[in-house]
């Protein structure tokens, strides 16, 4: 059983995304702890990439700020190592294929095992290309998280059957970013995932309000929030962790109702 399953074993999961190093790694660490203390069940740590093609403006800007601040993959490994002294919830990396490829997949994943990372999410690694990293992940017990999109239709069963850890269902077309309304009818997609998958699934992209989180979690096993948290980081900088904690509490409470 994957460690990630623990995030889903006590009700609907709230999954929080943060870009590492925005504004600096100390603040990232404090924000992660604030999120966990206030009910986040799983943490997605974004390793910044120069050209994040699946991200909207908010996370793009966070990536650039973090890189300009001098964050590197190695320094982020140090951050996770430090967090793992007391943070027990599952943590996964979200980044782009080239970050892992360039570092050397085996070397990168060995580090993940050593520092206590449970999985990786790569938005530019679809089902057809997962062979690029899957054997190396499986050999180390790191879950390679699958994404399903509203356009996946005929592909859902194929992807869901082989999914590990949890499935990341993308709520809407387009890139990451808050949306005032999620218009996609996800009911049929959620049904198809349920039928094929043996792992839980959570919905992300566009979720920012407690009401949206509640609706998405009703359809699935949890809600993933990225841009809304990254916006708080951008707004408050080093003072952000307290605000992130308050926001996570409000969102998690909405999932408990």
């Amino acid at each position: 059983m994957s460690n990630i399953a623990r995030a889903f074993d006590h009700g609907k999961a709230f999954i929080a995304f943060l870009t590492c190093g925005d504004p600096d790694l100390e603040t990232t660490a404090a924000a992660v702890r604030a999120a966990v203390e206030n009910g986040a069940d799983l943490i997605e740590l974004g390793i910044p990439f120069s050209d994040p093609t699946a991200e909207g403006p908010v996370i793009q800007a966070a990536n650039l700020r973090a890189l300009q601040g001098g964050v590197t993959t190695d320094r982020i490994f140090g951050l996770v190592e430090e967090l793992r002294r007391d943070v027990r919830v599952p943590m996964v990396f979200m980044t782009y294929a080239n970050v892992i490829y360039s570092y050397g997949a085996e070397r990168f994943l060995d580090a993940c095992v050593r520092i206590g990372i449970d999985g990786v999410i790569l938005p530019d690694l679809p089902y057809e290309e997962k062979g690029e990293f899957l054997p190396q992940c499986q050999a180390r017990g790191i879950d390679l998280i699958s994404l399903i999109a509203p356009t996946s239709e005929s592909r859902i069963a194929m992807i869901a059957r082989e999914a590990e850890g949890f499935i990341y269902l993308v709520s809407s077309l387009g890139v990451t970013g808050t949306r005032s309304e999620i218009t996609t009818d996800l009911t049929a997609i959620c049904q198809a995932i349920r039928e094929a998958a043996s792992v839980p699934f959570a919905i992300g992209f566009g979720i920012s309000t407690p009401e949206q989180a509640r609706r998405m979690a009703e359809l699935s096993d949890g809600a993933i929030v990225g841009s809304a948290i990254v916006k708080i980081m951008a707004q408050y900088g080093r003072e952000a962790p307290g605000h992130v904690g308050a926001y996570v509490r409000e969102m998690k409470d909405a999932l408990r109702d």
């Binding site: 120069s50 699946a54 360039s102 570092y103 057809e128 290309e129 994404l147």
Partner: protein, 396 residues
């Protein structure tokens, strides 16, 4: 030359968000259907000939040949195509394909603006909506092309993210495609991106080498000894090389933009300074730092200012079938001026990179040997920038 999964050796593939997978699968299925369809091919040939002005001339550059004192030099005049560059070959093919697929809207990235102008042109011709993404910096370097696109009815969106150049325009076009797939075809301008684009664009550009072959056999009764073309993403180069790949006697030489030199950070010479990576949907060579962050590249040429190279070129490089040589800004500008003076032809600054290398290569070859240089585009768009490079400010 491509295996079914779009691989060229280890290069290529489909490293894209799940949201786009069905779009590229649908595109591949449509292309597989129409590539062998005689009616489609006849319609495309008609457009290429009657609208774009093909076949383009293979011109013997006698003065240049005499001055350099070595190999005989022919220029493949893609600059004489409608819209002034080779880009129209690919665009007419893709626009026709998109139309058959029921798409009503074309989006495109552009660097120098040539591909954007070609896409806007095809969209106007075929009654399609058109949106072009162009790095803010390039909209300034290539203001005339921005005006041309707007005149043709396209919307030009300046991209301000990242380095605000070609790679960011590609990223933004990919993002736009994930937002709107149903009615939109992404008309990618080079032999890059996820499968099937490198194959589709190569096939539509292969008309260049097919014609060179026929024209040279007619004029000289033999194949060339070397074919030279500039390489950014590599579409005019692969088009110029393709029908010679099996002919081992023909040297295939891609000329990369070295910018201020391959020993500086201000370069865009991917083969000479990059390493293997995964970006913009493909595995290939990329300029990047030790952590895989894509490097901000530089070249005087907006069309070659890209940190990667098409996967088929990466493979031709790996197997030693093609050579990739760096050419600096200064060498390219000198070649730009040289060709204008010597042959009365103003080449695009991109194409001038190939002319620059020919100036070095020709004198080392025998008078019985033949070089073909592909002039991928014409240089009107570059005059203001080159004048500026030479310290002269033009007010257009």
């Amino acid at each position: 030359m491509t295996n079914p999964r779009g691989r060229f050796g280890v290069h290529g593939g489909q490293y894209i968000p799940e949201t786009l997978m069905n779009a590229v699968i649908e595109l591949e299925a449509a292309y597989d259907r129409y590539r062998e369809d005689p009616a489609f091919q006849a319609e495309l040939t008609e457009l290429l000939n009657e609208y774009a002005g093909r076949p383009s001339r293979l011109y013997l550059a006698e003065k240049m040949t005499r001055e350099l004192g070595g190999a005989k030099i022919y220029l493949k005049r893609e600059d004489l195509n409608h819209t002034g560059a080779h880009k129209i070959n690919n665009v007419l093919g893709q626009a026709l394909l998109a139309k058959k697929m029921g798409k009503t809207r074309l989006i495109a990235e552009t660097g120098a603006g040539q591909h954007g102008v070609a896409t806007a042109t095809a969209a106007a011709l075929m009654g399609m909506e058109c949106v072009v993404f162009m790095g803010r910096e390039d909209t300034e370097r290539q203001a005339l092309n921005v005006y041309r696109m707007r005149l043709l009815g396209a919307e030009v969106i300046p991209v301000t993210t990242g380095t605000a150049t070609l790679k960011d325009a590609v990223s933004e076009a990919m993002r736009e495609w994930t937002r709107r797939i149903d009615d939109t075809h992404y008309c990618l301008g080079s032999v890059m991106g996820p499968h099937p684009f490198p194959t589709i664009v190569r096939d539509f550009q292969a008309v260049i080498s097919r014609e060179i072959r026929e024209q040279l056999l007619e004029k000289e009764g033999r194949l060339p000894d070397a074919v030279l073309a500039c390489v950014g993403g590599g579409s005019n180069a692969i088009g110029s090389f393709y029908h010679f790949i099996e002919d081992r006697s023909v040297r295939l030489i891609g000329c990369e933009a070295a910018g201020r030199g391959i020993d500086t950070f201000e370069t865009a010479a991917t083969m000479n300074t990059g390493r293997l990576g995964i970006f913009h949907g493909m595995k290939s060579y990329f300029c990047q730092d030790e952590y895989g962050q894509i490097a901000p590249v530089y070249s005087i040429s907006a069309g070659l200012d890209y940190p990667g190279v098409g996967p088929e070129h990466a493979w031709l490089h790996d197997i030693g079938r093609a050579e990739y040589v760096p050419v600096t800004d200064e060498e390219a500008v000198e070649a730009f001026e040289y060709l204008a003076r010597t042959e009365g032809i103003i080449p695009a600054i991109e194409s001038a990179h190939a002319v620059a290398y020919a100036r070095k290569l020709a004198p080392t070859m025998g008078k019985d040997q033949i070089i073909v240089i592909t002039l991928s585009g014409r240089g009107d768009k570059d005059c203001a920038a080159i004048a500026r490079y030479r310290g002269e400010d033009l007010h257009e």
